[in-house]
Subunit: 264 residues, 3 copies
């Protein structure tokens, strides 16, 4: 439970940290709220306009956020076009994001109880730009959320939102086929192979090469060797111990990853 | 209005995030203040020693900061030399910065009511280094500001401060000539063409090439096409939709940007 | 003195800022504490798995942290293996870190009064992963620290911890030999030559080249010239004015740095 009167805003964007974009968003939120606000930066280095990666990060991080968190997610290649801004609520969590698929996967695990199209112009900054909705729309709407404005004032209810295709997870006799979703700065690849949906005792294959059984930590193989790990986000991850899997095995988004096992 | 007893320090530096410099500055501020302090990082990735870019960011961000913010800006190639440290006040905003031009443009929009030369050695850390004034001078002086020390204790009043040349904005019949100031991590270029000073209906030219009329969002042109956008900082910006303008058109600081229009 | 009821957690990791790892750690800490928590990011860009650099940063930053700070340091190539997690206390400072040498040098200046092996599984997240102890062990243990859990509940006392070799500092008649430890993003090199252990009046040599006497600021030499500076971390630093020492002089970790002086 968050301390009373202290609200948490979790931010996820592709704005980067070189420019003052994130700082300006936070400045607007702080300017328009009376009680203290804390910020939790999930990341601002989502690859530019990579909605898919942003959606994956949101799904990974959401289960760990404190109850009552307001998540503001802005990876928004369609900024200024007709794409909608969404307000979505799921239990004690609230989300603001463009309607472009960014909320696809966080919504898989926790269905939204309410979704609204944020289009009340009175909530935006006066003279809102068409290119920086993070500052001119998302930030003041976030401040309105924090200040207790009823969500019915944001705009009309929404029946269906844009959803990305679910990452590949295909079952065959003795095999599951998933795919590479993205990778971190060490070159470790995230895949769509969710651990809890895999039968035990199998082995992972990538580009015709066996990576062996699922390991629990890197030290189970020699330095420089590739391996498949039961990853911390709840999915199979591909790594090279003390090395860069994505670089060395030339892994790309969507590349198939196979999990083969003895059919029961 | 900021909540009582909670003070906001906005930081802008070229210290980067790889080293613990920014953390050490914040540690000193927190060590020397009693009531809670919040930090707002505008950016710490100003290109190394690029006073011009820092000054541009400060002007862009300042109007969005909450009243009462203390801005600490350190882009300081002359650290340790005879350059002065400035305290400047404008309404409810206070600034600490080296006297090297960094406050040039933020002061254009909001003239300073008071400027002082911070040279009271009792305010610095004992054994202050000559190379890290962010930690040894700016941070403890910021803490003194937050703790309510009268500004007259900082040092003597200052009549005139170092100012950068105003970025080019030259009017001709049917044309305004500005220049490229800097660019963001997507390659979008900031120019000195302030939107409110341009007559309507014109078109933007760069290196002899027309970028067409001012657009309101990227989606108004096809993917891969260059365009000129009415930017979110209040200036013309140059972009390539889904691409990198600075890289592809080899834009450099100071390159001329023309806005041509039908003289009335 | 920190305000009552507001606790400070200083973080140092090699997790980087591209991925939501740091955000997830903070989310877990916030989820499990009742009174307000503030975070101080020392850096999350320690070079991947560079324990030596992390240890150097910790030593440099620790003296500036407010009394009562909890330091959580995670540079942890052995995550998931048998390496221990340590809780260490020194005066009002507390530390959580893997037992891999990361606390070697911070402990030189301030000996630990108590060290424990954190192995109480009840403190970890249920279903803790083997690859992300930052989130699954360090964060909930940090929350337990902040909530006042007695340290005896963490695990058994520890007699000796893993220590890195002390960086070279060898005295000869008329000479001290140190080494390059690491460098910052400007290319300035940190060395093991501690200022307070050097006799006055000497000169610094690197790769057979004299860098002249110790300077107090960069402006004491012409632009483009290499120099040795009495650095802000309390050690000799090697720089090129307006340039990149590490790049231009091809400095590597462990390269000898000599300080020659007139023997008394």
């Amino acid at each position: 439970v968050r301390p009373k009167g202290c609200r948490l805003v979790a931010l996820l964007t592709d704005f980067g940290l070189k420019d003052p974009f994130v700082g300006m968003m936070k400045a607007v939120i702080l300017s328009r709220t009376r009680s203290p606000v804390s910020f939790l930066d999930l990341t601002h280095e989502v690859p530019a306009q990579d909605i898919r990666c942003g959606a994956f990060f949101l799904r990974a991080a959401a289960p760990y956020l404190p109850a009552g968190t307001l998540v503001v997610a802005v990876v928004d290649p369609g900024v200024g076009s007709a794409r909608r801004i969404l307000y979505a609520r799921s239990g004690q969590m609230r989300f603001l994001a463009p309607d472009n698929g960014l909320l696809s996967w966080v919504g898989e695990d926790r269905p939204f109880e309410q979704v609204r199209w944020v289009r009340n112009r009175k909530l935006a900054l006066p003279c809102a730009s068409a290119t920086f909705h993070g500052r001119d729309w998302f930030a003041p709407v976030a401040a309105a959320c924090l200040s207790g404005l009823p969500s019915s004032d944001f705009g009309p209810g929404v029946r269906s939102i844009v959803r990305l295709p679910t990452p590949r997870f295909e079952r065959f006799p003795g095999m599951v086929r998933g795919e590479v979703i993205s990778w971190d700065r060490f070159g470790n690849c995230w895949t769509s192979l969710r651990l809890k949906d895999l039968p035990p005792g199998g082995a992972v294959f990538f580009k015709g090469r066996s990576l062996g059984p699922l390991r629990h930590h890197y030290a189970q193989v020699a330095s420089g060797r590739p391996l498949a790990v039961a990853g911390s986000f709840g999915f199979v991850e591909l790594s090279v111990r003390d090395g860069d899997f994505a670089g060395r095995l030339k892994a790309g988004r969507g590349d198939p990853v196979l999990y083969k096992f003895q059919p029961s």
